[in-house]
């Protein structure tokens, strides 16, 4: 018999209850407190999946999030989650899980044929496929793409919610093992606002199941008492919550599993929650990860980390095997051997690579009292096959030996978890003797304590952590208490040596470093021989550490191998970057509520519901939504837009322009401020009059455009484009508060205070006259005040369409009544509503520039034919920058019109002599003539202002469209502006 089994007693599971679950179609049972891994191990399952490349069978290596091999798909339907570690999936009733990377079954996998061709597909083999004839790549590509990817994505929409939540604290403690608990207690007792994040479902970390005594009580009792006290002190205790990223300014992202992968959610529907925790100080107590030993076939099911074997025993009451042999280079495996023997599990031998005099005599004696211990012995090869190990061949100075075993528990020493420390910009020191990097030089508010700082002894961890907790509290305004730290009086037994080099004679091609991606020592050697000497190149060439576990158990071994090949110390070889997230996370967790309809916020104009009643196609304009057209039965968007544009040219149309930027500038120095913000003159504007204006950036290029209106001697209304509204708000604030803070002026952003409705067309005046009480329709570029439907309104006469036109401004919360009255009056004049598409057709024909089109951040006033409007007195933002030599370049892109000599002009077309020739410009907007035949467009063309009459090709290969065009003046409709006048 071989494989794991449940022991009759022990573990932190609830044996009074039974949970039923399925794995690969078979039914199993477990208990609350189990993980999927522990429950399957207890049921005798040894093989959990297949490796990525060679499809070799894989069992459990670890018991935590570092597990590289036992990946499963969990859940069903839209809740299915691939690549979930069986060791980090807590059991629930009804769990359905499946193994991965096998077909048709785990036992019989077609992909295992890759093992036969392994010599032909070493590290980087697919890069070499690029070296052959291109035609062959077509063949390779199909095969490689078919084999790529691990696990399968869900095919149905995820029914659950993912929440994003902000949180703040004085002290964040990451990890609730002995060090984390000690630090949290110290900080909380000192009055700090403390948060404690623990990835497990319970606090205690490595202390769970440990027979240690702390403060004179069993460790489990101390954990429980600590948790009670922390909660009483108001500490935010987050379990099943993993710190996945440490960002600038001590922002730590915490991923909380509200329910286990694949499980149904509670009433709130939340599956996972992302905490964005901003902390004053961060105490990192993430512990350490055990690393394996290098020997042949060390990837076989049954090769496990020593600490994991102990965890399955103490935490879950599971014996990982019936006959266990341990191979180690550290003290930690002795603790496992002693615990196994005390639990009645047969330990064949403990093999220590160290010599006997390097091992604590007391530890050696205590272990030898229970099982055979051989020193100076190193593992050479795992015996057995795809179903699991059957023994271990080992080598010693005096010869070879072999042991029968169904589990080989290995310990190559502990590696501190420095991931978050490094993400926070910290540095590392190299400890050659122990073969570890330890954190140093923190750049932010982080401090590492306990095992993640390389302090593996329990007494040290508790006292260091206590001090760190007091210091963190003091640094954030707390008053450190005088209490003494938790006390552990036992001995640490925490020595280890570097054990990166396999025993002599071991074939490196059979020694696995990264068992998920099937990277061997031989692959690393090959990469080095082929010139990949940088640790970053080695990683990418071999895929070492690129699996879902991100090399938690393998990176240091790979680094040591590179250092050995290079003949340099490990620190000189360097490290790959520690990037978030620390563990794989679902995409839903990152998206939060920003999914589906809520992917971006929706800004509604005050008239949104009036538009929505027509169910129009919407145009996204930033966060805004504006109707593109109001379609009638049988109309397409294009025909509706043309009908609406013709309506504006012949009768009257109204449209919602509430999204325009609007600013009220008032005070004795209002004109002065505007003459600094705007590049045109303002101060000479008469009260009641308005004019077109535009603004420059500090680099002299055009920023935005709009209109400016003098409402009173010391009060102006400035409008800008929808897209430029926020940018203009910033510019005005900058000029007012930074450049000219002494001006006696106020500048209020009234974009959302005013709704704005444009009324355009030959009968627009009639509409205004019929609807607006108390004023006559103002003449072009003048304004008036009146009342519509009882609502006071401001009416300005300005045109974007090229027709006689007005804009009616009303307080946004009263705009509906105004809109209704104007719409009815327009209808009475045979007019109606028009949308953005018609607006665009009309402005193209009129030749008005648009922000985002012709004002594209690269054009100057001269490029846009606006130079005559520049304020001759200067003093405006961007004035001096216009004198830069580049502004006089004759090849600048300049604003022109283009008229088609054939068919439609595609927007975005390149302007070229012939296809393939140099690009001379591009079409920024195009449309058809509204009342006449033909197609026209606006464009930016090199030296365009001097090129009227040139003929070019407007060519759009992406739209497979082209049209011969002639360059012309950019005004196609009413060049004299006669239609503005009554």
């Amino acid at each position: 018999m071989s494989g794991g089994s449940r022991l009759p007693a022990g573990g932190l599971i609830d044996r009074s209850r039974t949970l039923r679950f399925g794995f690969d179609g078979r039914d199993f049972t477990g208990h609350p407190g189990d993980t999927l891994a522990s429950a399957l191990l207890a049921s005798g399952v040894r093989v959990f999946g297949r490796s990525f490349k060679y499809h070799r069978t894989r069992g459990l290596l670890a018991a935590g999030v570092e597990e590289p091999s036992a990946l499963v798909g969990a859940g069903e339907g839209g809740r299915f989650e691939p690549n979930t570690r069986a060791t980090d999936l807590h059991l629930y009733d009804g769990l359905v899980a499946e193994s991965q990377n096998r077909w048709p079954s785990l036992a019989l996998d077609v992909g295992a044929v890759n093992q036969l061709i392994a010599p032909f597909i070493p590290a980087g083999f697919y890069y070499k496929t690029f070296l052959g004839p291109p035609a062959l790549w077509k063949l390779y590509e199909h095969v490689i793409r078919a084999a790529a990817g691990l696990g399968r994505p869900p095919h149905l929409p995820d029914p659950d919610r993912y929440e994003r939540r902000a949180a703040f604290c004085d002290v964040l403690v990451v990890g609730a093992g002995p060090a984390g608990l000690s630090a949290a207690l110290a900080a909380a007792r000192s009055g700090a606002r403390v948060a404690l994040a623990e990835m497990d479902s319970r606090l205690g970390g490595s202390l769970l199941g440990d027979p240690a005594q702390i403060d004179g009580q069993p460790a489990r009792d101390w954990i429980a008492a600590s948790e009670t006290e922390l909660r009483t002190l108001g500490v935010r205790v987050l379990t099943r919550t993993t710190a996945i990223g440490y960002y600038d300014h001590d922002m730590v992202y915490l991923a909380e599993r509200v329910v286990e992968p694949g499980a149904a959610t509670g009433d709130d529907g939340i599956a996972q929650r992302m905490w964005r925790m901003r902390a004053g100080r961060v105490i990192l107590a993430q512990g350490a990860i055990e690393r394996p030993l290098p020997f042949e076939d060390n990837d076989r099911p049954g090769v496990m980390l020593s600490g994991a074997v102990r965890t399955y025993l103490d935490r879950f009451g599971v014996a990982a095997g019936q006959r266990i042999v341990l191979a180690t280079s550290s003290d930690d495996a002795y603790r496992t051997a002693i615990r196994l023997c005390d639990a009645g599990v047969r330990v064949e031998a403990l093999l220590d690579a160290r010599s006997g005099d390097a091992i604590d005599a007391d530890l050696l004696r205590r272990t030898r009292d229970r099982c055979p211990v051989e020193t100076g012995v190193r593992p050479v090869r795992a015996l057995g096959g795809a179903k699991g190990v059957t023994g271990l061949a080992a080598a010693a100075a005096g010869g070879a030996a072999s042991f029968i075993a169904d589990v080989i528990a290995v310990s190559g020493g502990l590696t501190p978890s420095v991931h978050l420390h490094m993400q926070a910009g910290g540095g590392l020191d190299w400890d050659e003797g122990r073969g570890i990097f330890t954190p140093t030089a923190p750049r932010q508010g982080q401090v590492s304590i306990g095992a993640c700082a390389g302090r593996f002894g329990l007494a040290d961890a508790l006292s260091d952590a206590w001090r760190a907790g007091l210091d963190a509290a003091a640094a954030t305004g707390g008053r450190p208490v005088a209490d003494t730290p938790p006390r552990f009086e036992g001995r640490a037994f925490a020595d280890q040596i570097s054990a990166f080099v396999p025993a002599p004679g071991v074939n490196p091609k059979k020694v696995f470093v990264d068992p998920q991606n099937d990277v061997t020592l031989g692959d690393l050697d090959l990469a080095w021989r082929e010139g990949y000497r940088s640790v970053e190149h080695q990683k990418r060439y071999t895929t070492l550490g690129m699996a879902t576990d991100q090399g938690k158990t393998s990176n240091l071994i790979g680094l040591a191998r590179l250092a050995q090949n290079e003949g340099r110390p490990a620190p000189q070889v360097g490290l790959t970057t520690f990037r978030p997230p620390f563990i794989p996370t679902t995409l839903g967790l990152w998206a939060g509520e920003d999914a589906g309809f809520h992917v971006t916020p929706l800004r509604r104009t005050p008239l949104h519901d009036q538009h929505a009643a027509f169910d129009p196609p919407w145009q996204a304009v930033g966060y805004w939504r504006r109707p593109r057209a109001y379609l009638r039965a049988g109309e397409t968007l294009a025909t509706a837009a043309l009908r609406e544009a013709r309506m504006v040219r012949t009768t009257v149309g109204i449209t919602d322009v509430s999204t325009l930027g609007k600013f009220e500038v008032s005070g004795p120095d209002a004109a002065q401020l505007l003459e600094r913000v705007c590049a045109t003159s303002v101060s000479k504007l008469a009260v009641g009059r308005g004019r077109y204006t535009f603004m420059l950036r500090e680099d002299g290029l055009v920023n935005d455009d709009g209109t400016v209106w003098r409402l009173a001697e010391d009060r102006f209304l400035l409008t800008s484009s929808t897209g430029g509204a926020d940018r203009m708000a910033g510019l005005i604030s900058y000029v007012r508060n930074v450049l000219y803070p002494d001006l006696r002026v106020g500048a209020a952003n009234v974009q959302e205070h005013h709704a704005a409705i444009a009324v355009a067309g030959p009968r627009a005046r009639a509409v205004i006259a019929a609807v607006v009480e108390g004023m006559a329709p103002p003449r072009h570029m003048s304004l008036g005040r009146g009342v519509v439907a009882g609502v006071p309104v401001l009416v300005i006469a300005a045109s974007y369409s090229g027709e006689r036109a007005f804009e009616v401004y009303a307080p946004s919360h009263q705009a509906v009544a105004v809109w209704t009255a104007l719409a009815e009056a327009a209808q009475a004049q045979d007019g109606g509503l028009y949308g953005l598409e018609a607006l665009e057709i009309l402005r193209v024909e009129k030749g008005h520039v648009e922000t985002g089109g012709e004002i594209d951040g690269r054009t100057s006033a001269h490029d846009l034919r606006l130079e005559k409007m520049l304020n001759p007195r200067g003093g405006y933002v961007g004035q001096l920058a216009q004198q830069r030599p580049a502004f006089a370049d004759p090849d600048r892109l300049q604003f022109v019109g283009v008229e088609s000599l054939g068919g439609p002009i595609a927007e975005g077309s390149m302007l070229v002599e012939r296809p393939g020739f140099a690009v001379q410009g591009h079409v920024t907007a195009a449309g058809l003539r509204v009342l006449e035949e033909g197609f026209v467009g606006l464009a930016l063309l090199k030296g365009g202002r001097a090129r009227p009459g040139d003929e070019l090709l407007a060519w759009s290969p992406t739209r497979t469209a082209s049209a011969r065009v002639r360059v012309c003046e950019p005004v196609f409709h009413d060049p004299a502006g006669e239609r503005y006048r009554d």
Partner: protein, 165 residues
């Protein structure tokens, strides 16, 4: 509702949206004693300190920017009273009020929020300008169990729906 252990406690909240009132933005030409005196005389309350709200007869006066506050009142009257020391603009349509009440209001503001609404220091008399569910808002605690949220009208519907979820 209490979820796993003590990590998450979601207490009920209620939302209400009062009718818009007359709201003005007052921007001082200079923060000097002359303005402070004129302001108190016109508004009936002292100028609020940075990040604070004061109570005036017509309603709360909310600090908004280094030189600007929001107050309730008639724009023309206030403009006349503050002539020469401040600019007054009618912004009645520029802000929508949402009253969020109930013991869970602080926690509700942390969901997709950025500001530390759970800080005990964030109490009545404070105002914070921040983003909530992507929307620019001003938050003014009104008591132990409530907060006034001022939001641009264009964002109001989405924000209200999100807060009600």
């Amino acid at each position: 509702m209490i979820r796993r252990e003590s990590a998450i406690v979601t207490d009920p909240v209620t939302l209400s949206e009062p009718q818009p009132t007359r709201l003005v933005r007052i921007e001082a030409f200079a923060l000097d004693p002359a303005f402070a005196e004129a302001f108190e005389g016109a508004v009936g309350a002292p100028l609020p300190a940075v990040g604070r709200v004061t109570d005036a007869p017509a309603g709360p006066v909310i600090w908004a920017e280094p030189r600007a506050v929001l107050a309730s009142g008639d724009a023309a009257a206030l403009s006349a009273a503050l002539s020469g020391v401040a600019a007054v603009s009618d912004v009645s349509g520029a802000w929508r009020r949402i009253d969020l009440t109930g013991p869970g209001w602080r926690e509700r503001l942390m969901i997709d929020g950025l500001f530390d609404a759970e800080s005990p220091g964030f109490a009545p008399g404070c105002v914070a300008a921040t983003l909530l569910r992507h929307a620019p808002v001003m938050l003014c605690p009104t008591g132990r169990d409530g907060v006034l949220i001022c939001v641009a009208p264009s964002f109001a519907a989405d924000l209200r729906a999100a807060l009600a979820r």
